[in-house]
Symmetry: C2
Subunit: 348 residues, 2 copies
Amino acid sequence: MPEATTTRPARVTLRHVAERVGLTPAAVSMALSGSSRISEKTKVAVREAAAELGYVPSSAGRALRRQQSGAIALIVPNTTHHVFGHLYFMHVLTGVASVANGQDAQLLVSTNADEADGITAYERVLRSRSADGAIVTSAAIGDPNVERLTTSGLPVVLIGRFPEFPEAPSVWIDDVASSRAITEHLLQVHGRRRLVHVTGPLDHQTAVDRREGFLAAVRAAGIEHDCLMVEGDFSEQSGTDAADAIRDWHADGVVFANDDMAFGGMLALRVAGVDIPGQVSVVGFDDFGLARSTTPGITTVHVPAESIAETAAHLLFALISGGVAPVAPTPEPELRIRESCGCRPAPS
Amino acid sequence: MPEATTTRPARVTLRHVAERVGLTPAAVSMALSGSSRISEKTKVAVREAAAELGYVPSSAGRALRRQQSGAIALIVPNTTHHVFGHLYFMHVLTGVASVANGQDAQLLVSTNADEADGITAYERVLRSRSADGAIVTSAAIGDPNVERLTTSGLPVVLIGRFPEFPEAPSVWIDDVASSRAITEHLLQVHGRRRLVHVTGPLDHQTAVDRREGFLAAVRAAGIEHDCLMVEGDFSEQSGTDAADAIRDWHADGVVFANDDMAFGGMLALRVAGVDIPGQVSVVGFDDFGLARSTTPGITTVHVPAESIAETAAHLLFALISGGVAPVAPTPEPELRIRESCGCRPAPS
DNA sequence: GCGTAATGGTTAATCGATTAAGCACTCAAT
DNA sequence: ATTGAGTGCTTAATCGATTAACCATTACGC
């Protein structure tokens, strides 16, 4: 039984196209890449045949020959701390994906911290050259993997501030200044004096910096000995857990290190009969979406995660191709004033 | 100047390991894969050398030889309709990633709808064999790309119902039954009689099915000629836009086809002075996170996106390795009763 | 008419891992 | 002693794309 003439093989390679037009694979390759050594007539014939057969170059073959995969990886080392599956990650993914699309690069998402032979799965992504470079986000302070990746000589861009690695290409916002600014909002605009700060997990630089900003503000106001620090972990639950301490201490203002905790805290305070913002002004941090959907809306610091991610991606592509890492500008902090601090009346 | 003896080449290949132990690359490959034709002593030596040099197999070399990439792709054809960058996607990503990790597979995320040579970027992912299979989510009805992918012979699993392709492996929930159930909640528990349904974009099967479920419920109640249909597009804005029509029509219950629209609608109704749930009962659909953060919390249908995604991923791996597609069970609809329908008093 | 350029390809090598087939060499059984 | 089976590796081919080096033609200048 003869093959149907329209049968196209499951995998169309250069050779199939070459046979179709009566050339060698080499010629077809050159034709498709627009080499000047191939006649215009042949190029047209090759392009037609390729289109008819549905030829798409094998990424493996090409990667092997070119010594680069055409993909970048987005790595999240820290799956334990509610990071992956968080709104933050969505924004980062959106930003990175849009830049990757613009560069015709594939995007690999890697979150697996399993170790085999002492190498984590996401380090393996780089060492196996599945990706030409990586963006690492949400890493903890002192994470040995971060050091390994940044010193491996492979193109890696960090999202977040890593004082331990001042040389490592990284993109961050000024958490200290932002946190200070929003704390000062409570102090200066609303005249709050008994402040609580609910921190994030202090093994993350972001949490440390936001605490630092808070402290700078209260120090400047001369009330640094009269405020309460509660350690949270960025989870809504830890915000809820902080509510008792906040009430017992008779706070009139709370700076949560992120919106999730602010939300959890607000709910718990409300259940306990505390009026927000009447009795207690509440502010958060991040503005990834939650803060505007609650009632009252949470006054917060807008973290432009998507644009940070875009910057990181551009930086990564620059590293991959050029080697020179342009310095990324740090965006200015931007407060989003809503109702939880007492600025506007809640709608209703 | 002599090279430092500890210098390890940037890219360690089989040959480097082979030279180190005085063998051929072939022997090293066999040793690392545990072949019985290699002596135990040699295997130990090889493993040691590989670990010392930090050898990780080249994914390109391996992919070329094995004719599979060891990666799967998560494809979102539809970037226009607020899909990527949505909470839904986060859940899907989490589910797929966890299964992929379990299978030691890389995860490619592809959202680029750009066409070149009549092939979209995400079809290219499959045809270039960058991925061994794909999960497609959020595709529109009649999207030609879906047909192309499902009939291409490549392993593809769809998330969502596609009546046009009854043979295509797919995973979905029963939107019709779920939507009917939540509509009946308004009718039976709350005695609502003047219902509005705000649909999603009707080029998506999900939106069509949810409308169908709504209609089934009102039909069963004998009030199908006395309800209002408003076409939305799943966006918060379109929910907001529906508010005027809802009020003008003097509705006492609204079934929004998703939570985003319900949120937008609730805000707008509240601004217009409508009491929810006092005057109007509101319900949504999805429960991806937003519904529980609002005040009042939105009564909704819980869509187990993460577990759907996991099922889809398992199905995909079965297709890739076995070829047999196990039929996936359809999860039962689950209502999440909150305050927006009038069931519980809002906390305050 | 003859060297010199173009023109338009082909040949062969390469990227790294894998595996079938082959080849020494040892040991045991007939 | 001689075949037979193991044992433990090496050789060589392969996956697909790319590119440097090479080889035929034809065209052209003087």
